[in-house]
Point group: C2
Chain length 216, copies 2
Amino acid sequence: MKKLIICLELLFLTGMLSAQAPKFIRLLPPNTDRGISVMKALSLRSSTTDWDTAGLILQDLSDLAWSANGMNRRETGKRTAPSALNAQDIDLYILLKSGIYIYDAAEHLLNLVAEGDFRDLAAGSQPEAAQAPVICLMVSDISRFNAGEEDQRLEWAAIDAGTVSQNIALFCASEGFATRPRVTMDKGNLRKILKLKDSQYLILNNPVSYNKVTDN
Amino acid sequence: MKKLIICLELLFLTGMLSAQAPKFIRLLPPNTDRGISVMKALSLRSSTTDWDTAGLILQDLSDLAWSANGMNRRETGKRTAPSALNAQDIDLYILLKSGIYIYDAAEHLLNLVAEGDFRDLAAGSQPEAAQAPVICLMVSDISRFNAGEEDQRLEWAAIDAGTVSQNIALFCASEGFATRPRVTMDKGNLRKILKLKDSQYLILNNPVSYNKVTDN
């Protein structure tokens, strides 16, 4: 029965069961009992270019989003990733086969932004990255910083995206998943699809997949 | 006996035993059997402004440097933190009471750069940060990127510093240590003391201390 549920989740998330992408995906609470230690994960941390195509089950997708930039202190709304001036400038977009979602950390759910498969835009000039079932996209809204000139704000945005990306990398290392931080993407078309404001900058993306099992 | 060694290490590292800073500090191999899981560390990750003044024992200092940007794949020289184009642009400076050291990841040792206590320069306009026994300072040398215009290189440098900083944050969370990513510092005077080239940029620093035990 559990296997069936997982299988249905997988079909659902990869958009194979339904022609329409769901308007939102309610995520499961973080499972803090899983995975290996920080030190062991650091010893295994690496970047891959070899992606498995299977969709992530809902618990894995949920823990990926929470690890990246989830709320870890509900009383203050603070997050797993720090941000300059606690501006929480980074929005995490999740690209699935069915559509692009934005992560609502307070509600711990994904809200649909655009229906359809746009992973090729995040892959940019490296089309193999679009094979990953999930691409995490870090977008900073620098208007959320209440200080600093534009140059300074862009530096903070890049630092903050780097911290979110490394949360993803260490979550993946702790679970044996594949990922890689990438600046390559089709920013022009992604801006249009995501309807970004001028103050929003596409900084980084991390495709994520299960570890590909090879014959050799 | 072990306590005596730890105590001597502590006195040595904080510069209380010797008037002279050692020319290098040979670090201990990473202890990957310590600490809590990535998911648990993410649930506890936070930034502090309350620093304990006790020096770190050598194993903690060693694992801090290795976590931040150590070599985790000796065969390729790759690191715990990714970098754009694998340029390994980030140099990790470690400020102790006795002096400023640069981390040599290949040899896993700290080499003396400047004798003396310069933690106040890294603390900048927030002098309380100088109370931390260790300040990790992330400096990017953007001349190591073999592509990109200066604007792009500066963005990569900030992303790469963010990933190193988050490694520090998660190591600290896994051990119950205190840290905080900070862009505040006296860059002008640090540049002079560290004799930085024009292509080297001071991006971020993370003071690190044991968790302060308070009475309340």
